[in-house]
Amino acid sequence: MFQTTRRALLIAAALAVPAMTLAAQPAAAEKVLRVIPHADLKNIDPIWTTAYITRNHGYMVYDTLFAMDKNLKPQPQMVDTWTVSDDQLTWTFKLRDGLKWHDGAPVTAEDCVASIQRWGKRDGMGQVLMTVVESLTASDAKTIVMKLSKPYGLVLESLGKISSNVPFMMPKRFAETDAFTQVTDMIGSGPFKFSKEEWVPGSKVVYLKNEDYVPRDEPPSFAAGGKVVKVDKVEWTYFPDSATAMNALIAGEVDYFEQPPNDLSAILKTTPGIVVEINDPLGNMGFARFNHLLPPFDNAKVRRAAMHAMKQEDYLLAAVGVPDNFSTCYSVFPCGSPLENDAGSEIVAEANIEDAKKMLADSGYDGTPVVIMQPTDIAVLSAFSLVTAEKLRKIGMTVDMQAMDWSTLTSRRAKRDPVSEGGWNIFHTWWIGADVLNPMAIAYSGDPEKGWFGWPADAELEKLRADFAFAKNLEEQKAIATKVQERLYAIGSHGNLGAFFVPVAYRDNVKGLIKSPVQFFWNIDVER
């Protein structure tokens, strides 16, 4: 009896383990692209925040009226045809057929009008556009009419903006949400649907293929062209530890690693089955931003002396280290972009400590300590801070380096108070090339009230930026951009620290990556 019972128990146990194990088998034949994104997705409203991860999420779920191609030209995306009146004041956009929201309702012109208005309240380029928009209406279900008070040269560039805040289209009922309040329902018309039930903020996001999406016929080119989805699902799993992320990619537990750190990408490059390449041809532009309101950098001569000490190679070697992943770029506009030029760039191109020392001595610098905010949780910016401290000390400045995390820095950089009351003198950051393609970038503002942290005040710079917005053609834009760059260097707007490129790494069974400043997940196939 006992032996029978014992045998029965053993058989039951032997059957139970494989049964429980079988319960874990994934659905057969579902093609899943497993991605490690560069940050965790905490906010899901791409108009409410400029965070790049939310922008990338926006591209999954939403679509845009226009989109930028690899030649940096806006191309129609949701728009089928458009016309401009002879006086350049009336723009009429007709939507493509077959556009639907994820809940099945058709996309209408009213939805788009509300979406543009909401975007125009938050985005810098959008705000400038809205200053010349007299009216924005839906003349019928598929036609948007934009009437301007004067001709404006950047209408399509604004509506096809590639980076934050991207003018994503939302259903009217969501687009009417206050621009400073988050939209919480992700109903878009994009190539993927957001699976809210599977979202674990800070850890995992799941996107499902939108079977009703109608892609354009053109091949993909940056954000433009056909958005053909070749997988059933895309899973973003954020890894807080880069070494574990690297190992997971090597072990085949994930397919794509968006931004491996430079030291780890060097290991991945030599690993069989892994491809490492630069996907963003425009790269990132390093900035050392001065506070123009407080001494000593309220003096343009002191700013220019500091700029003249900032040799780009030193910054890039310290922060990036891998020569293939950086290059000097003395233009304030990304090298390789249409507005690249070298006007006024001698101050950075011929950086020299001895000359900078003389410039500082001539400036009347009185020894006021320079507070550098060092974000120790971001390796590149921490390295930039250390190099700046060394450079400024070498030319004779007194430096007070203050270590903090990025969150503390973002709140402190908004303060205009004196240093003794929590103010600052220098912080470092970078802009992706796509965000500083032209003088309209907020980083190049000369308006101390509405401009970017650092608050340079220069009426001439603002006039040039306004002229750029109304330039009639590319030649005129180039001429103005040259003057803008000259002016930025003349007033000592910021230290230009050069360009660096963050590679992507993926398994060699992943095909179809689109080279772009923003990583897109349509067109990608995974061969299993």
Binding site: V17, M20, T21, L22, A23, A24, D40, K42, N43, I44, W48, T49, T50, A51, R122, D123, G124, S164, N165, F180, T181, Q182, T184, V200, P201, G202, S203, K204, T237, F239, P240, D241, A243, T244, A245, N247, A248, I250, A251, E253, D377, M404, D405, W406, S407, T408, T410, S411, R412, R413, A414, R416, T429, I442, E449, K450, W452, F453
Partner: protein, 313 residues
């Protein structure tokens, strides 16, 4: 006993009140502001102030504290500033991985450490004792993340026996759960095995000098029974105390392990919230951890009465 438990539960209220005040003030007085993180690079000071207003951060501190306490007494931990989801939802999402990791670590550590400690005490002064104590010192000294990387390298990358990262719920299959929990458990257990083994050794060694141990041996009791039924039983109180303290350490250790092994647990949730200044999450989690720790201390005190019948409340 019941009146003891009731008194302890009532005493929890002022303790939680002090914790609530402390964590609230600590956050509000620390540098950093979620509004400026939210506002982003295009923010003007007006934008940041507007967001602060929407988040209730421009109210006087006393008003903010009062609002939060009012919600707390209604069991509302608030809404995450960044994800706009209820804090309770976020905690429930992340609770299981942390609980599973903590339980497996605790059980494994106790199961390995106590016998090791008893063995070391029994063989005090021999090579066995020294080997165990060397292991204990090493285990206590090596950082958790270093151990994690070493285990990942050996067991996942070289031998390919186990996965590199991730968590699978036991409700999705026992096999995947065990495969994914082994390495994180081993990683986190090492330090606790070291700690518990040392304390066990010291406590048992002290008890082995007692007269009743000599008497038990003189009466012909087998050595295993002397060690377990007499020595360990009498040495258990300080061991249980350290296990209780270890649970508090576990909360800190879990953060690092969850990061290294990519486990979406509460440790990572609180770390992310601190970096972003997501006040409702930080406040809610610290209160929850404090409450859990109070309950664990109460349970430890109750366990004393089981181990040592002389202890009565």
């Amino acid at each position: 006993m019941f009146s003891f438990i009731a008194k302890r539960m009532v005493a929890t209220i002022p303790v939680m009140g002090v914790v609530a005040l402390f964590v609230f003030l600590m956050l509000r007085l620390s540098p950093g502001d979620p509004a400026s993180v939210i506002a982003g690079d295009y923010a003007t000071p007006e934008d940041i102030e507007r967001i602060r207003g929407q988040l209730g951060l421009s109210e006087p501190i006393v008003v903010q504290f009062g609002n939060w306490i009012w919600k707390l007494v209604h069991a509302d931990l608030g809404i995450s500033i960044f994800s706009n989801l209820p804090v309770t939802t976020l905690i429930v999402q992340r609770l299981e991985p942390t609980v599973m990791l903590s339980l497996t670590t605790l059980f494994f550590s106790v199961a390995v450490a106590v016998p090791l400690g008893v063995l070391a005490a029994w063989k005090a002064g021999t090579w066995i004792d020294r080997a165990i104590m060397i292991f204990a010192v090493a285990g206590f000294s090596i950082p958790v993340f270093v151990l994690g990387y070493m285990f990942i390298y050996e067991f996942a990358m070289v031998l390919k026996w186990l996965p590199v990262q991730g968590y699978r719920s036991p409700f999705e299959g026992l096999g995947p759960f065990l495969r994914h929990i082994v390495l994180p458990t081993l990683t986190l257990s090492v330090i606790f095995i070291a700690l518990f083994a040392r304390i066990t050794r010291a406590s048992v060694l002290e008890v082995l000098e007692e007269d009743y141990i000599r008497t038990a041996r003189a009466k012909g009791q087998v050595e295993s029974k002397v060690l377990i039924s007499h020595a360990l039983r009498n040495a258990a109180v300080p061991i249980v105390t350290v296990i209780g303290l270890g649970i508090a350490l576990l909360i800190g250790g879990v953060v690092v392990t969850e990061s290294v092994y990519n486990i979406p647990g509460l440790g990572r949730l609180v770390l992310d919230a601190i970096l972003k200044r997501d006040y409702p999450i930080i406040q809610g989690l610290i209160l929850m951890f404090s409450f859990v720790y109070i309950i664990i201390n109460l349970m430890i005190d109750i366990v004393y009465t089981v181990i040592d019948p002389r202890i009565r409340y």
